[in-house]
């Protein structure tokens, strides 16, 4: 472990991983409770459109990913609240649509190269100091917003209509939640990849739900599972030369299976 941490790139990788695990698991708790699990996948694919535009047009892919993910999250929330469409159907349409747009952009621009590949599967070991600063700044803002409105978001997840009739600003907070989730996802895809961020956002909470404890403890267990999976996954990937993002996801799935078996009725 000490040998592994003697490398600068591993120190940065661990720091980035811990930050992303914290952000993903806390925001994931709210989206899972709102039955929005597929949103993480959809926004990750939308962010990929931003990356593709950035790579082809020569803009910063990260900021393009953030912009497109936010626009996509607002579109989802608008369609959900304004039309009688099933939420999961909206997410499925946007997911496949985003992927199609991303593929067309990169094929037209001839930019399907290693850069895009790293956003698909993540490249935690090539995280730069600038990446960490960006994640820390925007991650802190996102986290503070989630914590500030956690009791309202929890109420909305439990019963949106009752929350509304209790004076909670449901519409504003729903948009706030999807915006924060979009930012976290866009920040994360550089590290764990657009194909894998959904797992880090959803599986720790689903595993924590198996313990059947209250909201605060569920969030705490989800955070511990996400942090443990990232640390264990990166350690295993370092010593066995495995892709880090995929190894992290397998670790979190392993913990989910254990949680399922341990808590079987």
């Amino acid at each position: 472990m000490i040998e592994m941490l003697s490398y600068d790139f591993m120190q940065r990788a661990f720091l980035a991983g811990i930050l992303i695990a914290t952000l993903a698991s806390i925001s994931g708790t709210f989206i899972v409770l709102k039955r929005y699990s597929m949103m993480s996948e959809t926004l990750a694919h939308s962010a990929l459109v931003g990356v593709a535009v950035g790579l082809v047009a020569g803009f910063n892919p990260l900021w393009m990913a953030v912009s497109v993910a936010i626009l996509s999250s607002w579109t989802i929330e608008y369609l959900r609240s304004s039309f009688s469409l099933y939420s999961d159907a909206i997410l499925a349409i946007l997911l496949s649509g985003s992927l199609a747009v991303a593929i067309i952009i990169v094929s037209l621009g001839g930019a399907f190269n290693n850069s895009l590949f790293s956003y698909l599967f993540g490249s935690i070991l090539s995280v730069s100091s600038e990446d960490i600063v960006t994640i820390m700044i925007f991650g802190t803002i996102s986290l503070l917003l989630l914590l500030a409105f956690s009791k309202e978001l929890y109420f909305i997840a439990y019963d949106e209509e009752v929350a509304k009739t209790s004076g909670v600003k449901v519409k504003f907070l729903n948009y706030l939640l999807v915006t924060v989730v979009a930012i976290i996802i866009a920040l994360s895809i550089r590290v764990v990849g657009s194909l894998l961020i959904g797992a880090l956002m959803v599986i720790p909470t689903v595993a924590a739900l198996q313990y059947k404890v209250g909201f605060f403890k569920t969030g705490l267990i989800s955070l511990v599972i996400a942090l443990f999976s990232v640390v264990a996954g990166m350690t295993v990937s370092f010593y066995f030369s495995l892709p880090s993002g995929a190894t992290i996801v397998l670790c979190v799935i392993f913990i989910f299976v254990i949680s399922l078996v341990v808590n079987k009725k």
Partner: protein, 250 residues
């Protein structure tokens, strides 16, 4: 000033008439039952009173203010239909649920104040669920969940409690206990009660007025009169009989 003042309310989405020309007033301290056949518009009326549905035309005022200008939602406690049929996997203890009743009173980042804790505990005591406060909501019986949902509504210290078929999924013993609690809240706490029910015969001695809703509203100030079989037959469109809960003096 009435709590609710409804004038000429119509609801006809896609030209399908659900409610026609509804006018009614609800005053402080009243105990009102809404009855009517399924699909008659009872739930729609309640949802419009709460701003969850927009009327086609007509006017609703709450405490003298138009619905869009009304901000003091803490004065209204709402328990929706099938509230006791909760998602058993939702991570919430009884206390987590009742705490939700205080959310709109707290500022961002704030922890529960001493007043919040007192009101939450008081609501749990009133609904006799304090001993269940650390239990997961999904492990409770239908009757227990129903009382938790009302405790959540009471935690905000409402002046009116609106309940939409609160007895769905609740056994008969719990229903009787529930009606006794409602009556107590109305008489001792002066909380206005408005609720949709199919069991009006059971509580005919307690309620003050009955609104019968079947697209149109009929307001009856003497519940025992409207509950004659003739009226019930006209309302439900079939032979209906009142099951009255006789009180025996010993």
């Amino acid at each position: 000033m009435p709590i609710f003042d409804v004038k000429n309310l119509n609801f006809a989405p896609s030209s399908q008439k659900i409610l026609t020309n509804i006018s009614l007033e609800i005053f402080n301290g009243e105990y009102i039952a809404i009855i009517g056949p399924n699909g008659g518009g009872k739930t729609t009326l309640i949802r419009m009173l709460l701003g969850l549905e927009t009327p086609t035309n007509g006017e609703i005022k709450i405490y003298g203010k138009k619905l869009k200008d009304f901000k003091e939602w803490r004065k209204i406690g709402y328990v929706p239909q099938r509230a006791s049929l909760v998602d058993e996997n939702f991570p919430a203890t009884v206390q987590d649920i009742v705490n939700m009743g205080r959310v709109s009173k707290r500022s961002i980042f704030s922890r529960a104040s001493r007043e919040d804790k007192i009101e939450v505990e008081d609501a749990m005591i009133k609904m006799d669920v304090l001993n269940l406060k650390d239990q997961m909501i999904g492990t409770l019986s239908g009757g227990q969940r129903q009382r938790v949902m009302i405790a959540r509504a009471l935690a905000s210290k409402p002046e009116i409690l609106i309940l939409d078929e609160p007895n769905t999924g609740v056994d008969m013993v719990s229903q009787k206990r529930f009606y006794a609690l409602l009556s107590k809240l109305n008489k001792e706490e002066n909380i206005t009660i408005l609720f949709i029910t199919h069991d009006v015969g059971v509580i005919v001695d307690d309620i003050g007025r009955v609104f019968t809703i079947n697209q149109r509203a009929t307001i009856c100030n003497n519940p025992k009169e409207v509950l004659g079989c003739g009226d019930m037959t006209a309302l439900y469109g079939t032979q209906a009989h009142l099951l009255h809960n006789h009180k025996h003096e010993h």
